[in-house]
């Protein structure tokens, strides 16, 4: 085992990066938290053969292996089709969301991401904020701005003229 001081130094230096890699791999913070702690426990128990040059790559490799184990178990226990999905069909389909987003050329990636996370992925405002690094107020503003452009585009059937984002946020 490595010494406690060595371990604590490595932990302080890399815990954020390991968590970030793990979060991207499993998508749930509580699971990323669990796996991150397992990674550092593995380091403590097996780290005596490691050299400084192998860090942090070794930590990321362990994290990804644990994430792969998690998904293997997940696929045995449940399928993504079984997860609760938001209803997305409408009675009178006229235009696809993909076409409408493409039509609203003033939308930035952050607006499209908020719309997708909200209405296709069914996330709450807090979940969108956590996923995008925004705060909830910004998420609300981006959603309202994007929805206004989309409604205008559907109404006019011409490329929508962009309102200012402040107007949409204030509405």
């Amino acid at each position: 085992m490595i010494s406690i001081d060595e371990f604590n130094g490595i932990y302080r230096q890399y815990v954020d990066a390991v968590f970030r890699v793990t979060l991207r791999s499993v998508g749930r913070r509580e699971i990323a938290e669990e796996i991150t702690s397992e990674v550092f426990l593995t380091l403590y128990q097996n780290g005596d053969n490691l050299t400084p040059e192998q860090l942090p790559a070794w930590l990321f490799t362990v994290a990804k292996r644990r994430a792969a184990d998690y998904w293997r178990r997940w696929y045995v226990e449940e399928r993504w089709q079984a997860e609760e999905r938001p209803s997305s069909e409408t009675a009178t389909p006229e235009l696809s969301l993909e076409d409408l987003l493409a039509k609203c050329t003033s939308l930035k990636p952050v607006h499209r991401a908020c719309i997708m996370l909200r209405f296709v992925q069914g996330m709450s405002r807090a979940e969108i904020a956590a996923q995008t690094g925004l705060n909830e107020l910004q998420v609300k503003g981006h959603l309202q701005y994007a929805l206004k452009l989309m409604r205008d585009a559907l109404t006019t059937r011409r490329p929508a003229s962009p309102p200012t984002e402040e107007m949409a946020t204030d509405a």
Binding site: K64, K140, M150
Partner: protein, 295 residues
Amino acid sequence: MHNPDPMLDPLNPMEEQLPEGLRFTPRCPPLRLLLAHQEGVLPEDGAKEIEAHLASCGLCRGLLSDLGALEPHGLTNREREAIRGKLPIPMASSGKNWRWYAVSGAVAATLLVCAILALHTWRSVLGAAPQITQAPAQPSQATVASTPAPPEIAVAKLNPPLNTAPGLVLRGAGPIDQPDASQLAPAFDAYAKGDYPLAAERFNLLAKQFPRAEDPVLYLGVTQLLMHDDPAALVSLTRAEQLATTSQQDVAKWYRAIAAVRVRDPEAPELLRNLCRRDSSTYAKQACELLNQLP
């Protein structure tokens, strides 16, 4: 994930509904499966399922692309404490009172002095022995000191190409087998900020998406070197050298040679020798110096 209760979710009011008469692809996979697929951690069957969906769903492809520029919230203090709390390892820095700090400070100062003395002694003992101390940097490059440098060789951070600078906008459509500036930007943003794990992930994704493009795989290799993932760096940089245009050939050769030295590849001296002979190369002098320091 989806919260159907309007009382709990203030986004449900009518003004925040999608416009009527809109249709969109039902039953897209959860985002976390899309991201896990990007990270390469799904089992084979699951990965195939996601690949098939992505091939037919522009919305999900667009979402992954749009999210490339955004970062999830980092580790909160609560989460950091929770992770630490799960580890049965004492925190060395959990001091009891000011006396503890005074004693530990004195010990730390003593250790520092000893370390400096030991370093001087070590240098004088090894002074005559061949050793690689530091790879000289190209004049326009900054030496990276943020990650723990291996004792034998440090890597100079390669500057990003100019066409990814935020102030430049490429006009017109580029070649179909090359990523455009907007696709490269998130990777170079992480690279510039020193977030090498994230940069490596993004370059890796671009390298898979554009297998004939030289920049993603070259910078993937350099990033892996900066992360001290040397075996992977050697693979990436060998590929980068094959793809490199004439102007980038020497850059790829130089970084490949560094990776080869680090993993003690038997070809390393020959790679350096070839570069050393190229008088016109910016890296010739550095390659010669490094070659002379090899045992």
